[in-house]
Amino acid sequence: MVNNGNRPTGTDGPETIKRKLEEKILPLVQKPGRYAGGELGAIGASWDGVRASILLAFPDAYEVGMSYLGFKILYDIVNSRKGWRAERAYSPWPDMERAMRNEGVPLYGLESLSPARRFDAVGITLQYELSYTNALQLIELSGMGLRSSERKEDDPLVIGGGACTVNPEPLAEFFDAFLIGDGEEAIAEIMGILEMRRSGSLSRKRALEALSRLEGVYVPAVHDPSVARIRRRVLDDLERFPAGLGHEVVPFVECVHDRTVVEVMRGCDRGCRFCQAGYINRPVRERKASSVRAAAVESSARCGYDEVSLLSLSTADYSAVGPLVDKMAPELAAKGVAVSLPSLRIDAFSIGLARKVAAHKRTGLTFAPEAGTQRMRDIINKGVTEEDLISAARAAFEAGWEQVKLYFMIGLPFEALEDVEGIADLAFKVLALGREVAAGKGRPPSRIRISVSVGTLIPKPHTPFQWLGLERSEITEGKKARLRGLMKVKGITLALSDAFTSKLEAVLSRGTRAMSGVIERAYRLGARFDGWGECIMPGHWLKALEEAGMDLDTEASRGFAGTERLPWGHIDTRVKADYLAMELENARHGRPTGDCRFDACNLCGVCESGIGNIVRGPEE
């Protein structure tokens, strides 16, 4: 139980914080390395000549936050500029939060152990809804009022960013500003405003007004959400910024992803109708293969990781991926470094790629057919057929893989029980195929393992399913029971998502400003790390909802009429609402929509002068 009573005032200086950490706190908490700093590549502790500063705070554990590319990019951009300073902070685990409150130690930057209130802004990334209570934790541990309206003139500005800002309303009371969209260019403009504020030429109010005039920035105290229109910020060409990061921190503590990450492409036009990332990151912008390769080689040598990951929403779609991997994999392998691809398409081409990169030999392969029947895959516009899956799986088994992971969703719109049963059918077919291939090669068929992971569709803002509610849990639970019954088969393991977590995520993702009271109450009751199975406390949320006169199931499954102004109607992701509505109709009729990289333009509305898909093709 977290003690909410003691609130650090945020006035301790770096020396006091250091002494308290060394003597009173770090000897007594789990994994103290998370809170000590001193990593390779971190900037020094000196604040000499600082004209503007930001504390990049991640609302989850260090091990999660250190793996987030967005903050690595911002850290590099800010710290590369003379006079600008970015430091890092992460949510303290409950034992550390308790210790910090007991000793009166505020949230601090790991580089200089400076208290959060020394910075001109605290930037908090909102990557997933289940981190919202941790965002409040970061604000309160900074020694500021939770609500924007309670903050004092000299408190840092609290700025949110990341995917969840496409519906900022549930957190609008707590943040002074949100940046919606790409941060590379906007961060420089924001730092410029912070610089004027630090020099005394802008009051807090004037600084917020200045922020509100930047493209992509939403300031709840300035904008009226019923009439405002905040257009998502888009970086037209990733090559405006280097692929390799000059300031890259290499953690000591083992993190979720300990590897060099190079972003090969941003955006995806495949148009899977459930996928928020696919709609809010358009258009597709590829980097040059030559800059990816140079960054991978340089960065892995500088950081010393044994793996380089080529990141994007769908790396097999990167137009130069084949030649790039052919060139890079052997070059890096000679230095003991493996290449990995975070996402594979379901086709023989992807298996061919996977065979070339050593990292995937260690683990199994994951395929995401998403749905069990062709009818359902047409509804969600997942352009994959059963033949695709079978041929990809055959290629994988023939190449020697013995474990295959299949990812599906249930609770999809217009779903029938036979679509759910189709998941089991597909899994059985893949298992039988694997055994057949293994037997044919004289290997024991019993070694073939299929793990099936089934998530629940959570309708997200700015997708064609945004008007629909979460499927009622009694229906979803029935489907899960059916799957459990069907899949008690040797060689298959089944993992199902948790019903409460799905509902909470649904409520938060499509919530209105009225949710802010619920989030604050759950936080006060002790809710933290809601995405962690060992931490989530459903009771706190149920109590908070009840006190607000809300019911979890009703809120989660609430739909919106097509004519209604949506709670996120003021956020313009550049994809037209009409387009999303048309896609919902296409889903209803099982009509596929093509990928505009290969087929005709779908008129989604994203492209305009200077902004459009950048597909470079193989070089040389």
Partner: protein
């Protein structure tokens, strides 16, 4: 087998925030440092090849050190002075490389570790009931008792007396030489024992630093670097 390869023995430290790095994280960090250096290191076979490195003795989280050691197998020989030069930017300040020497092989380093030296200071003198004048008395009390046991982390009573080889007070700090290796004494247990023989005077939070490691190759306890040739020391650690 090992003497087919060239090997280098490295002494490194864990200072400042480096003391909070766990043993497993230290191994990973050292692997990355070796890769950053570009040493021609030998890799293990298999799906996930790892640099062939051996670590002398795990260090408790929270304890700093200037006496960590590892052996690294190389494809071809490298001069210790070159190792130091390559390491200067590859090892983080919190995990500095202190010395390197050529090592002839023939044994596994961890199997030969026998003793470790620690320097112990209280973080907070008042809370620890610590005063310089009483240190000698406490040491005498410790030496006078025939045996002293403390509760270990596993709940079992742990005999301390037989695992402490030397204790002395130096400039208001304690210097101890204790068992390390197969028989092992965490320095905290020594403080617990000191506290037990003095009626609870020495409980509190301490700053522990490992200042030396001793191996036994059949000639009595010796510094691991003494079994190397051409040992080169980093500036600032020349001792």
């Amino acid at each position: 087998m090992a003497d087919m390869f060239e090997a280098i023995r490295i002494r490194y430290g864990k200072v400042g925030p480096g003391r909070y790095i766990s043993h497993l994280d230290t191994i990973r960090a050292a692997e990355r440092a070796i890769r950053r250096m570009g040493l021609p290191v030998l890799y293990s076979e298999g799906f996930s090849p790892r640099p062939r490195m051996t670590f002398a003795a795990a260090l408790q989280v929270g304890v700093s050190s200037v006496a960590e050691h590892m052996d690294v197998l190389l494809e071809k020989g490298v001069e210790p002075a070159d190792v130091l030069r390559m390491a200067s930017s590859a090892f983080p300040e919190t995990m500095p490389l202190i010395a390197a020497g050529r090592f002839g092989g023939g044994y596994a380093l961890p199997a030969k570790v026998r003793r470790a030296k620690y320097l112990i200071r209280p973080f907070c003198r008042e809370e620890a009931g610590w005063s310089c004048g009483s240190l000698d008395d406490a040491i005498r009390a410790f030496e006078a008792v025939p045996s002293v046991t403390v509760p270990g982390r596993d709940g079992k009573e742990k005999d301390v007396k037989g695992l402490v080889y030397a204790v002395r007070a130096v400039d208001g700090a304690l210097e101890v030489e204790v068992a390390c290796g197969d028989k092992n004494l965490r320095p905290q247990y020594f403080i617990d024992a000191l506290s037990a023989v003095t009626g609870g005077l020495y409980s509190g939070v301490y700053d522990f630093c490992r200042t030396g490691l001793l191996i036994d190759l059949g000639r009595g306890p010796q510094d691991p670097m003494a079994d190397c040739v051409g040992t080169a020391f980093s500036e600032g650690f020349r001792s």
